[in-house]
């Protein structure tokens, strides 16, 4: 502080006058700091200003990057667009579901083919289908099993 507002203070009577006197003395003390101290304080200030500049530049760079990232989402190449990211995420899931559906369909088809083969064999046999319901024919088949 460079303001030497020394005020009359012949005695310590009131707090205001007293504190003003003390503050004036403290101000005077700061004016008498050695060069070693003032020089280091100046260097510290300069370092702090450089730090502020660096921070502000970083903030500006981040804002710039954020703005361009937003435009990239609408067709840029820096980051995949939202539909593309959804597609990449959902495609494997859809493939898995389709696989399950296909497996179930194939299983049903195989089962139907097997049933059809049995029906065909029964219908084309020389033995009438009603014979298989006859108990005696069942005993006959059992006794003549090879």
């Amino acid at each position: 502080m460079t303001n030497h507002s020394f005020r009359p203070a012949r005695s310590v009577r009131t707090t205001d006058a007293f504190t003003r006197s003390v503050v004036s003395a403290l101000d005077a003390g700061t004016e008498r700091l050695p060069y070693r101290i003032t020089h280091r304080l100046q260097l510290a200030s300069q370092a702090a200003l450089a730090a502020q500049t660096a921070v502000l530049e970083t903030v500006e760079a981040n804002v710039f990057a954020t703005v361009h990232a937003g435009s990239g989402a609408r067709g840029g190449h820096d980051q995949p667009s939202l539909p593309w990211r959804l597609l990449v995420t959902l495609l494997p899931l859809a493939a898995i579901i389709a696989g399950f559906v296909a497996i179930a369909d194939i299983g049903d088809a195989l089962e139907a083919d097997e049933t059809a083969e049995i029906d065909e064999a029964v219908l084309t046999d020389e033995v009438p289908i009603s014979a298989y319901a006859d108990h005696g024919f069942g005993v006959f088949l059992k006794n003549n099993r090879p």
Partner: protein
């Protein structure tokens, strides 16, 4: 947002007082310089985008926190006892009629006319007052310096110190009375 120029002006205006505040607390020039530099760096890095009017309170809060952190790291340091015996001269040595505050009675502009004798007396007064400021309890000294030297209002001082406004008033009152009593005992007329 504080511009580079505003921050520069603020740091220039506060750097010497900040240094003295730190010296009053830690009693070591190099440590005080480190604390002030740390506080400046933190202010610039963390709060460099704040409005200029918020810088004083923020800086004082940072500086006080830095000083407290320093003491937390150096709990074993006891600095109250030694200075009293080291700095206090033998009683009766000073001129009975000498009032150190008289060296500050001149209005602004009359300093150029001060004699060498006046200058020595003024320097002695400054030294005595700084010694007594140093001897104040930490919180009282913080409150006194922030409130009266840094010219923060009660609310800002409370924010910088991290305490209530009532505590600030109490600390300031006690500091003023303690300081007045101490200075009276060292030759100031009351």
């Amino acid at each position: 947002m504080a511009s580079r120029q505003e921050l520069s002006d603020f740091l220039s205006s506060v750097e010497r007082r900040a240094f003295k505040q730190a010296v009053f607390a830690v009693r070591d020039d190099d440590t005080a310089l480190d604390l002030v530099q740390d506080a400046m760096m933190r202010l610039a890095e963390r709060y460099g985008d704040k409005p200029a009017e918020e810088l004083p309170m923020l800086f004082q809060r940072i500086l006080q926190n830095r000083i407290h952190d320093h003491f937390r790291r150096n709990k074993v340091r006891n600095f109250w006892v030694t200075l009293w015996s080291a700095l206090r001269g033998p009683p009766g040595e000073a001129d009975e009629d000498f009032d150190p505050l008289e060296s500050f009675e001149a209005e602004e502009g009359s300093q150029a006319a001060e004699s060498t004798e006046d200058r020595v007396a003024s320097e002695q007064t400054v030294r005595i007052i700084e010694e007594e400021i140093e001897r104040l309890p930490t919180r009282q000294r913080e409150a006194f310096l922030l409130r009266y030297w840094e010219d923060l209002d009660v609310a800002e001082t409370a924010a910088a110190m991290g305490c209530s406004q009532g505590s600030v008033k109490t600390h300031c009152s006690r500091a003023t009375h303690s300081l007045a009593a101490a200075l009276r005992s060292r030759g100031f007329k009351s």
